[in-house]
Protein backbone atom coordinates (compact mmCIF):
# COMPACT_ATOMS: atom_id res chain seq x y z
CA UNK A 1 0.00 0.00 0.00
CA UNK A 2 2.64 2.46 1.09
CA UNK A 3 4.90 1.17 -1.63
CA UNK A 4 2.28 1.88 -4.22
CA UNK A 5 1.53 5.43 -3.27
CA UNK A 6 4.82 6.56 -1.72
CA UNK A 7 5.96 8.41 -4.84
CA UNK A 8 2.64 10.21 -5.19
CA UNK A 9 2.64 11.08 -1.52
CA UNK A 10 6.19 12.37 -1.40
CA UNK A 11 5.67 14.41 -4.58
CA UNK A 12 2.49 15.91 -3.19
CA UNK A 13 4.27 16.73 0.08
CA UNK A 14 7.27 18.35 -1.58
CA UNK A 15 5.12 20.27 -4.06
CA UNK A 16 2.66 21.35 -1.41
CA UNK A 17 5.43 22.43 0.93
CA UNK A 18 7.18 24.53 -1.71
CA UNK A 19 3.94 26.18 -2.76
CA UNK A 20 2.88 26.80 0.83
CA UNK A 21 6.25 28.37 1.65
CA UNK A 22 6.10 30.45 -1.51
CA UNK A 23 2.56 31.55 -0.73
CA UNK A 24 3.47 32.55 2.82
CA UNK A 25 6.56 34.28 1.39
CA UNK A 26 8.95 32.35 3.61
CA UNK A 27 11.07 31.71 0.55
CA UNK A 28 12.58 34.75 -1.08
CA UNK A 29 11.91 35.50 -4.75
CA UNK A 30 15.51 34.57 -5.52
CA UNK A 31 15.18 31.08 -4.03
CA UNK A 32 11.87 30.62 -5.81
CA UNK A 33 13.40 31.53 -9.16
CA UNK A 34 16.29 29.13 -8.55
CA UNK A 35 13.79 26.38 -7.76
CA UNK A 36 11.81 27.15 -10.89
CA UNK A 37 14.91 27.10 -13.09
CA UNK A 38 15.72 23.78 -11.49
CA UNK A 39 12.41 22.47 -12.78
CA UNK A 40 13.12 23.82 -16.26
CA UNK A 41 16.58 22.28 -16.23
CA UNK A 42 15.18 18.92 -15.14
CA UNK A 43 12.80 18.92 -18.12
CA UNK A 44 15.63 19.93 -20.46
CA UNK A 45 18.12 17.34 -19.28
CA UNK A 46 15.65 14.45 -19.21
CA UNK A 47 14.38 15.32 -22.68
CA UNK A 48 17.87 15.55 -24.14
CA UNK A 49 18.75 12.31 -22.42
CA UNK A 50 16.02 10.67 -24.49
CA UNK A 51 17.95 11.42 -27.68
CA UNK A 52 21.55 11.41 -26.49
CA UNK A 53 21.33 8.72 -23.86
CA UNK A 54 18.57 6.32 -24.82
CA UNK A 55 18.73 6.65 -28.57
CA UNK A 56 22.50 7.13 -28.75
CA UNK A 57 22.52 10.06 -31.15
CA UNK A 58 24.53 13.20 -30.44
CA UNK A 59 22.17 16.16 -30.50
CA UNK A 60 23.83 19.45 -29.62
CA UNK A 61 21.16 21.94 -30.62
CA UNK A 62 18.57 21.40 -27.94
CA UNK A 63 18.24 25.10 -27.10
CA UNK A 64 16.82 25.74 -30.58
CA UNK A 65 13.67 23.75 -29.83
CA UNK A 66 13.46 25.44 -26.46
CA UNK A 67 13.49 28.72 -28.34
CA UNK A 68 10.57 27.65 -30.55
CA UNK A 69 8.51 26.64 -27.52
CA UNK A 70 9.34 29.81 -25.65
CA UNK A 71 8.39 32.06 -28.55
CA UNK A 72 5.24 30.24 -29.59
CA UNK A 73 3.75 30.02 -26.12
CA UNK A 74 4.62 33.56 -25.15
CA UNK A 75 3.44 35.09 -28.44
CA UNK A 76 0.18 33.17 -28.24
CA UNK A 77 -0.32 34.11 -24.62
CA UNK A 78 0.35 37.78 -25.16
CA UNK A 79 -1.84 37.82 -28.28
CA UNK A 80 -4.79 36.26 -26.49
CA UNK A 81 -4.62 37.64 -22.99
CA UNK A 82 -2.46 40.72 -22.72
CA UNK A 83 -2.27 44.31 -23.78
CA UNK A 84 0.66 44.69 -26.09
CA UNK A 85 2.13 47.16 -28.55
CA UNK A 86 2.35 44.57 -31.29
CA UNK A 87 -0.95 42.76 -30.93
CA UNK A 88 -3.11 45.45 -29.34
CA UNK A 89 -5.88 44.69 -26.87
CA UNK A 90 -6.39 41.12 -25.60
CA UNK A 91 -8.67 38.94 -27.70
CA UNK A 92 -10.11 37.05 -24.75
CA UNK A 93 -10.95 38.19 -21.27
CA UNK A 94 -7.77 37.95 -19.14
CA UNK A 95 -9.68 36.15 -16.40
CA UNK A 96 -9.56 32.96 -18.48
CA UNK A 97 -5.74 33.03 -18.42
CA UNK A 98 -5.63 30.58 -15.55
CA UNK A 99 -7.45 27.85 -17.49
CA UNK A 100 -5.67 28.50 -20.75
CA UNK A 101 -2.13 28.67 -19.36
CA UNK A 102 -1.29 24.93 -19.47
CA UNK A 103 -2.71 24.86 -22.99
CA UNK A 104 -0.42 27.73 -24.00
CA UNK A 105 2.62 25.85 -22.72
CA UNK A 106 1.47 22.65 -24.42
CA UNK A 107 0.91 24.43 -27.74
CA UNK A 108 4.47 25.75 -27.45
CA UNK A 109 5.62 22.18 -26.87
CA UNK A 110 3.71 20.92 -29.91
CA UNK A 111 5.19 23.64 -32.10
CA UNK A 112 8.66 22.69 -30.88
CA UNK A 113 7.87 19.05 -31.63
CA UNK A 114 7.16 19.99 -35.24
CA UNK A 115 10.39 21.98 -35.32
CA UNK A 116 12.00 18.71 -34.23
CA UNK A 117 11.10 17.35 -37.66
CA UNK A 118 13.88 19.57 -38.98
CA UNK A 119 16.26 17.12 -37.34
CA UNK A 120 14.14 13.99 -37.49
CA UNK A 121 13.74 13.83 -41.26
CA UNK A 122 17.45 14.09 -42.13
CA UNK A 123 18.14 11.49 -39.42
CA UNK A 124 16.68 8.73 -41.61
CA UNK A 125 19.81 8.71 -43.69
CA UNK A 126 22.31 10.70 -41.66
CA UNK A 127 23.93 9.36 -38.54
CA UNK A 128 26.48 10.09 -35.87
CA UNK A 129 28.58 13.18 -36.22
CA UNK A 130 26.81 14.27 -39.36
CA UNK A 131 23.53 14.29 -37.48
CA UNK A 132 25.23 16.28 -34.71
CA UNK A 133 25.96 18.94 -37.30
CA UNK A 134 22.37 18.97 -38.44
CA UNK A 135 21.19 19.60 -34.88
CA UNK A 136 23.80 22.33 -34.51
CA UNK A 137 22.78 23.93 -37.80
CA UNK A 138 19.09 23.75 -36.90
CA UNK A 139 19.84 25.59 -33.66
CA UNK A 140 21.50 28.36 -35.64
CA UNK A 141 18.68 28.39 -38.21
CA UNK A 142 15.92 28.71 -35.60
CA UNK A 143 17.68 31.55 -33.79
CA UNK A 144 18.45 33.27 -37.06
CA UNK A 145 14.84 33.04 -38.26
CA UNK A 146 13.57 34.64 -35.06
CA UNK A 147 16.22 37.33 -35.18
CA UNK A 148 15.04 38.26 -38.66
CA UNK A 149 11.34 38.63 -37.82
CA UNK A 150 11.23 42.27 -36.85
CA UNK A 151 7.55 42.25 -35.83
CA UNK A 152 8.19 40.18 -32.70
CA UNK A 153 11.21 42.16 -31.66
CA UNK A 154 13.95 40.40 -33.62
CA UNK A 155 17.15 40.19 -31.66
CA UNK A 156 15.86 42.75 -29.14
CA UNK A 157 13.53 40.15 -27.70
CA UNK A 158 9.89 40.04 -26.75
CA UNK A 159 8.13 40.78 -23.47
CA UNK A 160 4.74 41.21 -21.88
CA UNK A 161 4.33 37.77 -20.28
CA UNK A 162 4.26 39.19 -16.74
CA UNK A 163 0.74 40.46 -17.44
CA UNK A 164 -0.56 36.92 -17.78
CA UNK A 165 0.97 35.88 -14.50
CA UNK A 166 -0.51 38.83 -12.67
CA UNK A 167 -3.87 38.07 -14.33
CA UNK A 168 -3.67 34.52 -12.97
CA UNK A 169 -2.73 35.70 -9.52
CA UNK A 170 -5.58 38.21 -9.55
CA UNK A 171 -8.05 35.44 -10.28
CA UNK A 172 -6.89 33.05 -7.55
CA UNK A 173 -4.28 34.29 -5.13
CA UNK A 174 -1.67 31.55 -5.36
CA UNK A 175 1.94 31.57 -6.64
CA UNK A 176 0.95 30.15 -10.02
CA UNK A 177 4.32 30.02 -11.75
CA UNK A 178 5.91 27.59 -9.22
CA UNK A 179 2.77 25.46 -9.34
CA UNK A 180 2.83 25.15 -13.13
CA UNK A 181 6.58 24.52 -13.23
CA UNK A 182 6.24 21.81 -10.63
CA UNK A 183 3.30 20.16 -12.39
CA UNK A 184 4.94 20.24 -15.80
CA UNK A 185 8.21 18.87 -14.42
CA UNK A 186 6.40 15.94 -12.84
CA UNK A 187 4.37 15.45 -16.02
CA UNK A 188 7.49 15.38 -18.20
CA UNK A 189 9.35 12.91 -15.99
CA UNK A 190 6.28 10.69 -15.86
CA UNK A 191 5.89 10.89 -19.64
CA UNK A 192 9.57 10.01 -20.16
CA UNK A 193 9.34 7.06 -17.82
CA UNK A 194 6.22 5.75 -19.52
CA UNK A 195 7.71 6.28 -22.96
CA UNK A 196 10.98 4.52 -22.19
CA UNK A 197 9.45 1.55 -20.41
CA UNK A 198 6.78 0.98 -23.07
CA UNK A 199 7.12 -1.66 -25.76
CA UNK A 200 7.55 1.13 -28.27
CA UNK A 201 10.29 2.64 -26.12
CA UNK A 202 12.29 -0.59 -26.17
CA UNK A 203 12.78 0.15 -29.85
CA UNK A 204 14.58 3.36 -28.89
CA UNK A 205 17.15 1.42 -26.87
CA UNK A 206 17.40 -1.09 -29.70
CA UNK A 207 18.40 1.72 -32.09
CA UNK A 208 21.06 2.77 -29.60
CA UNK A 209 22.53 -0.73 -29.51
CA UNK A 210 22.57 -1.35 -33.24
CA UNK A 211 20.41 0.41 -35.75
CA UNK A 212 20.77 -2.08 -38.58
CA UNK A 213 20.13 -5.04 -36.34
CA UNK A 214 17.09 -3.30 -34.88
CA UNK A 215 15.69 -2.77 -38.33
CA UNK A 216 16.20 -6.43 -39.18
CA UNK A 217 14.36 -7.36 -36.01
CA UNK A 218 11.32 -5.55 -37.45
CA UNK A 219 11.75 -2.32 -35.50
CA UNK A 220 10.43 0.54 -37.60
CA UNK A 221 13.48 2.74 -37.05
CA UNK A 222 12.30 5.75 -39.02
CA UNK A 223 9.02 5.93 -37.15
CA UNK A 224 10.73 5.54 -33.79
CA UNK A 225 13.33 8.16 -34.63
CA UNK A 226 10.69 10.63 -35.76
CA UNK A 227 8.57 10.18 -32.67
CA UNK A 228 11.53 10.23 -30.29
CA UNK A 229 12.94 13.40 -31.77
CA UNK A 230 9.48 14.96 -31.63
CA UNK A 231 8.91 13.95 -28.01
CA UNK A 232 12.31 15.20 -27.01
CA UNK A 233 12.05 18.54 -28.78
CA UNK A 234 8.44 18.93 -27.64
CA UNK A 235 9.54 18.63 -24.03
CA UNK A 236 12.30 21.13 -24.71
CA UNK A 237 9.55 23.40 -26.03
CA UNK A 238 7.58 22.99 -22.80
CA UNK A 239 10.71 23.89 -20.84
CA UNK A 240 11.21 26.88 -23.10
CA UNK A 241 7.65 28.09 -22.55
CA UNK A 242 8.04 27.88 -18.80
CA UNK A 243 11.43 29.59 -19.03
CA UNK A 244 9.87 32.47 -20.97
CA UNK A 245 7.08 32.96 -18.45
CA UNK A 246 9.44 32.75 -15.46
CA UNK A 247 11.65 35.47 -16.88
CA UNK A 248 8.82 37.42 -18.46
CA UNK A 249 11.13 38.20 -21.35
CA UNK A 250 12.65 36.20 -24.19
CA UNK A 251 15.34 37.03 -26.68
CA UNK A 252 16.90 34.67 -29.21
CA UNK A 253 20.39 35.24 -27.82
CA UNK A 254 19.57 33.30 -24.65
CA UNK A 255 18.99 30.10 -26.67
CA UNK A 256 22.38 29.95 -28.33
CA UNK A 257 24.95 27.17 -28.43
CA UNK A 258 26.08 27.93 -24.88
CA UNK A 259 22.63 27.03 -23.59
CA UNK A 260 22.72 23.80 -25.60
CA UNK A 261 26.14 23.07 -24.12
CA UNK A 262 24.77 23.58 -20.64
CA UNK A 263 22.05 21.01 -21.29
CA UNK A 264 24.56 18.59 -22.78
CA UNK A 265 26.70 18.95 -19.68
CA UNK A 266 23.75 18.13 -17.46
CA UNK A 267 23.01 14.98 -19.44
CA UNK A 268 26.57 13.69 -19.40
CA UNK A 269 27.07 14.69 -15.78
CA UNK A 270 24.09 12.60 -14.79
CA UNK A 271 24.94 9.67 -16.97
CA UNK A 272 23.60 8.56 -20.30
CA UNK A 273 20.33 6.65 -20.31
CA UNK A 274 19.62 7.31 -16.66
CA UNK A 275 16.45 9.20 -15.84
CA UNK A 276 17.21 9.68 -12.17
CA UNK A 277 20.76 10.67 -13.07
CA UNK A 278 19.47 13.45 -15.31
CA UNK A 279 17.14 14.74 -12.63
CA UNK A 280 19.89 14.63 -10.01
CA UNK A 281 22.47 16.30 -12.21
CA UNK A 282 20.02 19.04 -13.25
CA UNK A 283 19.39 19.81 -9.57
CA UNK A 284 23.09 19.71 -8.68
CA UNK A 285 24.13 21.75 -11.69
CA UNK A 286 21.57 24.48 -10.99
CA UNK A 287 22.70 24.70 -7.36
CA UNK A 288 26.35 24.73 -8.43
CA UNK A 289 25.72 27.56 -10.89
CA UNK A 290 24.02 29.60 -8.19
CA UNK A 291 26.64 28.88 -5.53
CA UNK A 292 29.44 29.93 -7.84
CA UNK A 293 27.66 33.08 -8.99
CA UNK A 294 29.82 35.37 -6.77
CA UNK A 295 32.90 34.22 -8.65
CA UNK A 296 31.60 35.93 -11.81
CA UNK A 297 33.89 35.19 -14.76
CA UNK A 298 35.91 32.64 -12.86
CA UNK A 299 32.70 30.62 -12.49
CA UNK A 300 33.02 29.53 -16.08
CA UNK A 301 36.57 28.35 -15.44
CA UNK A 302 35.73 26.49 -12.25
CA UNK A 303 32.68 24.65 -13.62
CA UNK A 304 34.38 23.20 -16.72
CA UNK A 305 37.39 22.32 -14.61
CA UNK A 306 35.22 20.44 -12.12
CA UNK A 307 33.58 18.62 -15.01
CA UNK A 308 36.89 17.68 -16.59
CA UNK A 309 38.07 16.31 -13.26
CA UNK A 310 34.81 14.41 -12.90
CA UNK A 311 35.22 12.98 -16.39
CA UNK A 312 38.74 11.80 -15.52
CA UNK A 313 37.66 9.93 -12.42
CA UNK A 314 34.13 8.92 -13.26
CA UNK A 315 33.74 9.12 -17.01
CA UNK A 316 30.29 7.56 -17.01
CA UNK A 317 28.71 10.42 -15.03
CA UNK A 318 27.08 10.35 -11.62
CA UNK A 319 24.77 7.41 -12.19
CA UNK A 320 26.25 5.65 -15.21
CA UNK A 321 23.35 4.15 -17.10
CA UNK A 322 21.68 2.93 -13.93
CA UNK A 323 18.65 4.25 -12.11
CA UNK A 324 18.36 5.12 -8.45
CA UNK A 325 16.74 1.78 -7.71
CA UNK A 326 19.68 -0.12 -9.20
CA UNK A 327 22.22 1.62 -7.01
CA UNK A 328 20.24 1.33 -3.79
CA UNK A 329 18.25 -1.87 -4.23
CA UNK A 330 16.74 -1.53 -0.78
CA UNK A 331 14.97 1.62 -1.89
CA UNK A 332 12.86 -0.50 -4.22
CA UNK A 333 10.99 -1.79 -1.21
CA UNK A 334 9.65 1.66 -0.54
CA UNK A 335 8.52 2.91 -3.89
CA UNK A 336 7.23 1.92 -7.24
CA UNK A 337 7.61 4.37 -10.06
CA UNK A 338 6.12 3.72 -13.41
Amino acid sequence: MLRRYSVHLSLATVGGLIIYLAHQEYLSLYIMSVLMFMGVNIILSTSLNLVNGYMGEFSCGHAGFMCVGAYVSSLLGVWLFANDKVFGAPLLNPKYTLYAFPLLILVGGIAAAFAGLLVAIPSYKTRGDYLAIITLASNYIIISVIENIGAIGGSRGFMGMKQLISAMEKRVDLPWMPIWVFLFTVFCIWLMRRYISSTFGKGVTAICQDEVAAEIMSVNTNKIKTITFMVSSGMAGIAGGLFAYILGYVNPGSFNILKSTEVLVMVYLGGMASLSGSVLSAILFTILLELLRPLQIIKWIVIPLLLIILMQFRPEGIMGNRELGDIFPKLKKFYRFK
Partner: protein
Protein backbone atom coordinates in the same frame (compact mmCIF):
# COMPACT_ATOMS: atom_id res chain seq x y z
CA UNK B 1 31.02 41.58 -63.29
CA UNK B 2 33.63 43.53 -61.35
CA UNK B 3 31.38 43.26 -58.36
CA UNK B 4 31.26 39.51 -58.76
CA UNK B 5 35.04 39.16 -59.06
CA UNK B 6 35.45 41.39 -56.03
CA UNK B 7 33.07 39.20 -54.07
CA UNK B 8 34.87 36.07 -55.18
CA UNK B 9 38.16 37.45 -53.87
CA UNK B 10 36.51 38.37 -50.58
CA UNK B 11 34.95 34.92 -50.40
CA UNK B 12 38.33 33.27 -51.01
CA UNK B 13 39.87 35.25 -48.17
CA UNK B 14 36.99 34.59 -45.77
CA UNK B 15 36.92 30.93 -46.79
CA UNK B 16 40.66 30.63 -46.17
CA UNK B 17 40.16 31.12 -42.44
CA UNK B 18 37.43 28.51 -42.34
CA UNK B 19 39.56 26.16 -44.41
CA UNK B 20 42.63 26.56 -42.17
CA UNK B 21 40.60 25.86 -39.02
CA UNK B 22 38.61 23.08 -40.65
CA UNK B 23 41.87 21.35 -41.59
CA UNK B 24 42.69 21.05 -37.88
CA UNK B 25 39.28 19.61 -37.09
CA UNK B 26 39.48 17.10 -39.84
CA UNK B 27 43.03 15.96 -39.03
CA UNK B 28 42.15 15.19 -35.42
CA UNK B 29 38.86 13.64 -36.39
CA UNK B 30 40.46 11.50 -39.05
CA UNK B 31 42.91 10.01 -36.58
CA UNK B 32 40.93 9.87 -33.35
CA UNK B 33 37.27 10.19 -34.47
CA UNK B 34 37.20 12.93 -31.84
CA UNK B 35 35.35 16.17 -32.49
CA UNK B 36 37.86 18.54 -30.93
CA UNK B 37 35.42 21.28 -29.93
CA UNK B 38 38.23 23.24 -28.28
CA UNK B 39 39.76 23.89 -31.70
CA UNK B 40 37.95 27.18 -32.30
CA UNK B 41 39.30 28.43 -29.00
CA UNK B 42 42.78 27.21 -29.87
CA UNK B 43 42.43 29.47 -32.90
CA UNK B 44 41.49 32.34 -30.57
CA UNK B 45 44.48 31.59 -28.34
CA UNK B 46 46.62 31.59 -31.49
CA UNK B 47 45.40 35.09 -32.34
CA UNK B 48 46.24 36.27 -28.83
CA UNK B 49 49.67 34.66 -28.94
CA UNK B 50 50.24 36.42 -32.25
CA UNK B 51 49.16 39.68 -30.65
CA UNK B 52 51.55 39.35 -27.72
CA UNK B 53 54.50 38.16 -29.76
CA UNK B 54 53.94 40.89 -32.36
CA UNK B 55 53.76 43.64 -29.74
CA UNK B 56 56.82 42.18 -28.00
CA UNK B 57 58.85 42.00 -31.20
CA UNK B 58 57.75 45.40 -32.49
CA UNK B 59 57.79 47.60 -29.43
CA UNK B 60 60.07 45.92 -26.89
CA UNK B 61 62.74 44.76 -29.33
CA UNK B 62 61.98 47.46 -31.88
CA UNK B 63 62.42 45.22 -34.89
CA UNK B 64 61.27 46.34 -38.33
CA UNK B 65 57.88 45.04 -39.42
CA UNK B 66 58.88 42.34 -41.88
CA UNK B 67 61.45 40.73 -39.55
CA UNK B 68 58.87 40.81 -36.78
CA UNK B 69 56.40 39.08 -39.11
CA UNK B 70 58.97 36.47 -40.15
CA UNK B 71 59.67 35.70 -36.47
CA UNK B 72 56.04 35.98 -35.47
CA UNK B 73 54.81 33.24 -37.81
CA UNK B 74 56.93 30.37 -36.41
CA UNK B 75 56.61 31.66 -32.86
CA UNK B 76 52.81 31.72 -33.03
CA UNK B 77 52.63 28.33 -34.70
CA UNK B 78 54.93 26.68 -32.16
CA UNK B 79 53.26 28.20 -29.11
CA UNK B 80 49.76 27.41 -30.34
CA UNK B 81 50.81 23.87 -31.17
CA UNK B 82 52.03 23.61 -27.58
CA UNK B 83 48.60 24.66 -26.33
CA UNK B 84 46.99 21.99 -28.47
CA UNK B 85 49.40 19.30 -27.31
CA UNK B 86 48.90 20.31 -23.69
CA UNK B 87 45.16 19.85 -24.06
CA UNK B 88 45.74 16.45 -25.56
CA UNK B 89 48.12 15.38 -22.80
CA UNK B 90 46.10 16.70 -19.87
CA UNK B 91 42.54 16.14 -20.92
CA UNK B 92 42.12 13.72 -23.81
CA UNK B 93 44.84 11.11 -23.36
CA UNK B 94 43.93 9.95 -19.84
CA UNK B 95 40.34 9.52 -20.95
CA UNK B 96 41.38 7.67 -24.07
CA UNK B 97 43.59 5.34 -22.08
CA UNK B 98 40.68 4.53 -19.80
CA UNK B 99 38.61 3.59 -22.82
CA UNK B 100 35.90 6.12 -22.01
CA UNK B 101 32.99 6.56 -24.39
CA UNK B 102 33.84 8.78 -27.35
CA UNK B 103 31.21 11.35 -26.46
CA UNK B 104 32.69 11.94 -23.01
CA UNK B 105 35.91 13.01 -24.69
CA UNK B 106 33.83 15.37 -26.83
CA UNK B 107 32.28 16.89 -23.70
CA UNK B 108 35.76 17.27 -22.20
CA UNK B 109 36.83 19.08 -25.36
CA UNK B 110 33.85 21.42 -25.05
CA UNK B 111 34.81 22.14 -21.45
CA UNK B 112 38.44 22.80 -22.43
CA UNK B 113 37.17 25.34 -24.94
CA UNK B 114 35.11 27.08 -22.27
CA UNK B 115 38.11 27.18 -19.96
CA UNK B 116 40.34 28.71 -22.64
CA UNK B 117 37.71 31.34 -23.43
CA UNK B 118 36.97 32.39 -19.89
CA UNK B 119 40.53 32.13 -18.62
CA UNK B 120 41.39 34.57 -21.36
CA UNK B 121 38.51 36.80 -20.31
CA UNK B 122 39.58 36.65 -16.67
CA UNK B 123 43.27 37.29 -17.31
CA UNK B 124 43.20 39.89 -20.08
CA UNK B 125 39.79 41.43 -19.47
CA UNK B 126 36.88 41.98 -21.82
CA UNK B 127 38.40 44.99 -23.55
CA UNK B 128 39.21 44.38 -27.18
CA UNK B 129 42.81 44.37 -28.25
CA UNK B 130 43.99 46.17 -31.36
CA UNK B 131 46.53 44.20 -33.34
CA UNK B 132 49.60 46.25 -34.33
CA UNK B 133 50.15 46.53 -38.11
CA UNK B 134 53.13 44.37 -39.01
CA UNK B 135 53.47 45.19 -42.68
CA UNK B 136 52.26 48.16 -44.67
CA UNK B 137 49.09 47.35 -46.56
CA UNK B 138 49.21 47.96 -50.32
CA UNK B 139 46.00 48.31 -52.23
CA UNK B 140 46.10 47.16 -55.83
CA UNK B 141 43.37 47.96 -58.32
CA UNK B 142 43.07 46.00 -61.54
CA UNK B 143 40.08 46.84 -63.72
CA UNK B 144 37.91 48.04 -60.86
CA UNK B 145 38.72 45.06 -58.62
CA UNK B 146 40.63 46.04 -55.51
CA UNK B 147 42.64 43.72 -53.36
CA UNK B 148 45.41 44.08 -50.82
CA UNK B 149 48.68 42.23 -50.46
CA UNK B 150 47.30 40.80 -47.22
CA UNK B 151 44.33 39.20 -48.98
CA UNK B 152 46.61 37.54 -51.49
CA UNK B 153 48.87 36.35 -48.68
CA UNK B 154 45.94 34.84 -46.77
CA UNK B 155 44.62 32.97 -49.81
CA UNK B 156 48.11 31.79 -50.78
CA UNK B 157 48.78 30.58 -47.24
CA UNK B 158 45.59 28.58 -47.18
CA UNK B 159 46.49 26.91 -50.48
CA UNK B 160 50.05 26.21 -49.34
CA UNK B 161 48.83 24.78 -46.03
CA UNK B 162 46.41 22.54 -47.87
CA UNK B 163 49.07 21.29 -50.26
CA UNK B 164 51.52 20.71 -47.42
CA UNK B 165 49.00 18.75 -45.35
CA UNK B 166 47.80 16.79 -48.34
CA UNK B 167 51.38 15.85 -49.18
CA UNK B 168 52.03 15.05 -45.54
CA UNK B 169 49.05 12.74 -45.22
CA UNK B 170 49.36 10.97 -48.55
CA UNK B 171 53.11 10.78 -49.16
CA UNK B 172 55.05 10.62 -45.88
CA UNK B 173 55.51 7.83 -43.37
CA UNK B 174 53.83 9.85 -40.61
CA UNK B 175 50.85 10.46 -42.85
CA UNK B 176 50.66 6.79 -43.66
CA UNK B 177 50.64 6.01 -39.94
CA UNK B 178 47.85 8.56 -39.46
CA UNK B 179 45.74 6.93 -42.11
CA UNK B 180 46.47 3.54 -40.63
CA UNK B 181 45.30 4.67 -37.19
CA UNK B 182 42.08 6.04 -38.62
CA UNK B 183 41.56 2.70 -40.32
CA UNK B 184 42.15 0.45 -37.34
CA UNK B 185 43.18 1.75 -33.94
CA UNK B 186 43.82 -1.63 -32.37
CA UNK B 187 46.00 -3.30 -34.95
CA UNK B 188 48.29 -0.32 -35.49
CA UNK B 189 50.24 -0.49 -32.19
CA UNK B 190 50.81 -4.18 -32.85
CA UNK B 191 52.68 -3.25 -36.02
CA UNK B 192 55.12 -1.08 -34.06
CA UNK B 193 53.61 2.29 -34.87
CA UNK B 194 53.77 4.55 -31.80
CA UNK B 195 50.12 5.54 -31.41
CA UNK B 196 50.57 8.36 -28.93
CA UNK B 197 53.39 10.00 -30.88
CA UNK B 198 51.38 10.05 -34.07
CA UNK B 199 48.44 11.55 -32.23
CA UNK B 200 50.71 14.25 -30.80
CA UNK B 201 51.98 15.01 -34.32
CA UNK B 202 48.38 15.33 -35.45
CA UNK B 203 47.62 17.79 -32.70
CA UNK B 204 50.81 19.76 -33.48
CA UNK B 205 49.80 20.06 -37.12
CA UNK B 206 46.17 20.96 -36.42
CA UNK B 207 46.87 23.48 -33.68
CA UNK B 208 49.84 24.96 -35.52
CA UNK B 209 47.71 25.78 -38.53
CA UNK B 210 44.99 27.12 -36.23
CA UNK B 211 47.65 29.44 -34.79
CA UNK B 212 48.63 30.52 -38.30
CA UNK B 213 44.97 31.19 -39.06
CA UNK B 214 44.78 33.22 -35.84
CA UNK B 215 47.76 35.33 -36.87
CA UNK B 216 46.34 35.96 -40.34
CA UNK B 217 42.90 36.70 -38.96
CA UNK B 218 44.35 39.18 -36.46
CA UNK B 219 46.26 40.87 -39.28
CA UNK B 220 43.19 41.09 -41.53
CA UNK B 221 40.64 42.10 -38.87
CA UNK B 222 42.86 43.68 -36.22
CA UNK B 223 40.43 43.51 -33.27
CA UNK B 224 40.77 40.65 -30.79
CA UNK B 225 38.22 39.50 -28.24
CA UNK B 226 37.94 36.28 -26.22
CA UNK B 227 34.76 35.02 -27.92
CA UNK B 228 36.08 35.40 -31.46
CA UNK B 229 37.00 31.73 -31.66
CA UNK B 230 33.72 30.21 -30.57
CA UNK B 231 31.46 31.09 -33.49
CA UNK B 232 34.13 30.76 -36.16
CA UNK B 233 35.16 27.42 -34.67
CA UNK B 234 31.63 26.00 -34.77
CA UNK B 235 31.24 27.22 -38.33
CA UNK B 236 34.56 25.74 -39.40
CA UNK B 237 33.49 22.44 -37.87
CA UNK B 238 30.32 22.58 -39.93
CA UNK B 239 32.45 23.31 -42.98
CA UNK B 240 34.65 20.31 -42.23
CA UNK B 241 31.63 18.03 -41.91
CA UNK B 242 30.04 19.30 -45.10
CA UNK B 243 33.26 18.49 -46.91
CA UNK B 244 33.26 15.03 -45.37
CA UNK B 245 35.05 14.99 -42.03
CA UNK B 246 38.31 13.09 -41.94
CA UNK B 247 39.25 14.12 -45.45
CA UNK B 248 41.76 16.93 -46.08
CA UNK B 249 40.29 17.88 -49.44
CA UNK B 250 36.82 17.93 -47.94
CA UNK B 251 37.79 20.32 -45.16
CA UNK B 252 39.49 22.64 -47.62
CA UNK B 253 36.59 22.66 -50.04
CA UNK B 254 34.00 22.90 -47.26
CA UNK B 255 35.74 25.94 -45.81
CA UNK B 256 35.72 27.74 -49.13
CA UNK B 257 32.12 26.70 -49.77
CA UNK B 258 30.96 28.14 -46.46
CA UNK B 259 32.99 31.31 -47.03
CA UNK B 260 31.54 31.76 -50.51
CA UNK B 261 27.96 31.23 -49.38
CA UNK B 262 28.36 33.71 -46.52
CA UNK B 263 29.98 36.42 -48.64
CA UNK B 264 27.46 36.00 -51.45
CA UNK B 265 24.53 36.20 -49.02
CA UNK B 266 25.94 39.40 -47.53
CA UNK B 267 26.44 40.79 -51.03
CA UNK B 268 22.87 40.27 -52.17
CA UNK B 269 20.70 40.12 -49.03
CA UNK B 270 20.59 41.99 -45.71
CA UNK B 271 23.55 40.81 -43.65
CA UNK B 272 21.35 39.42 -40.87
CA UNK B 273 20.32 36.63 -43.25
CA UNK B 274 23.91 35.35 -43.41
CA UNK B 275 23.65 32.57 -40.82
CA UNK B 276 20.15 31.60 -41.89
CA UNK B 277 20.93 31.02 -45.55
CA UNK B 278 24.41 29.60 -45.00
CA UNK B 279 23.15 26.96 -42.57
CA UNK B 280 20.11 26.13 -44.67
CA UNK B 281 22.38 25.45 -47.65
CA UNK B 282 24.53 23.20 -45.45
CA UNK B 283 21.46 21.40 -44.14
CA UNK B 284 20.31 20.74 -47.69
CA UNK B 285 23.77 19.47 -48.69
CA UNK B 286 23.89 17.10 -45.73
CA UNK B 287 20.39 15.80 -46.41
CA UNK B 288 21.30 15.21 -50.03
CA UNK B 289 24.74 13.69 -49.30
CA UNK B 290 24.59 12.32 -45.75
CA UNK B 291 28.35 11.85 -45.37
CA UNK B 292 29.46 15.14 -46.87
CA UNK B 293 31.02 15.89 -50.22
CA UNK B 294 34.09 13.67 -49.90
CA UNK B 295 32.94 11.37 -47.14
CA UNK B 296 32.77 7.67 -47.76
CA UNK B 297 29.71 5.89 -46.45
CA UNK B 298 30.91 3.19 -44.09
CA UNK B 299 29.23 -0.14 -44.36
CA UNK B 300 28.35 -1.54 -40.97
CA UNK B 301 28.90 -5.16 -40.17
CA UNK B 302 26.38 -6.89 -37.99
Amino acid sequence: MENLVQNIINALQWGSFYALIALGYTLVYGVLTLINFAHGDVFMVGAYIAFFSATFLLTTLGLPGWIALALCIPLTMILTAMVGVTLERIAYRPLRNKGAHRLYVVITALMCGLILEHANLAIFGASRKAFPPLIAEHVYTIGGVTFTNLKIAVIATAFLAFMFLHWMVTKTRVGMAMRAISYDKFAVPLLGIPLDQIIVVTFILGSGFAGLAGLLFAMSYPVLEPYMGALIGWKAFIAAVVGGIGDIRGAFLGGFLLGTVEIMVVAFFPSTYRDLIAFTVLLVILTWKPTGLFGIAKTTKI
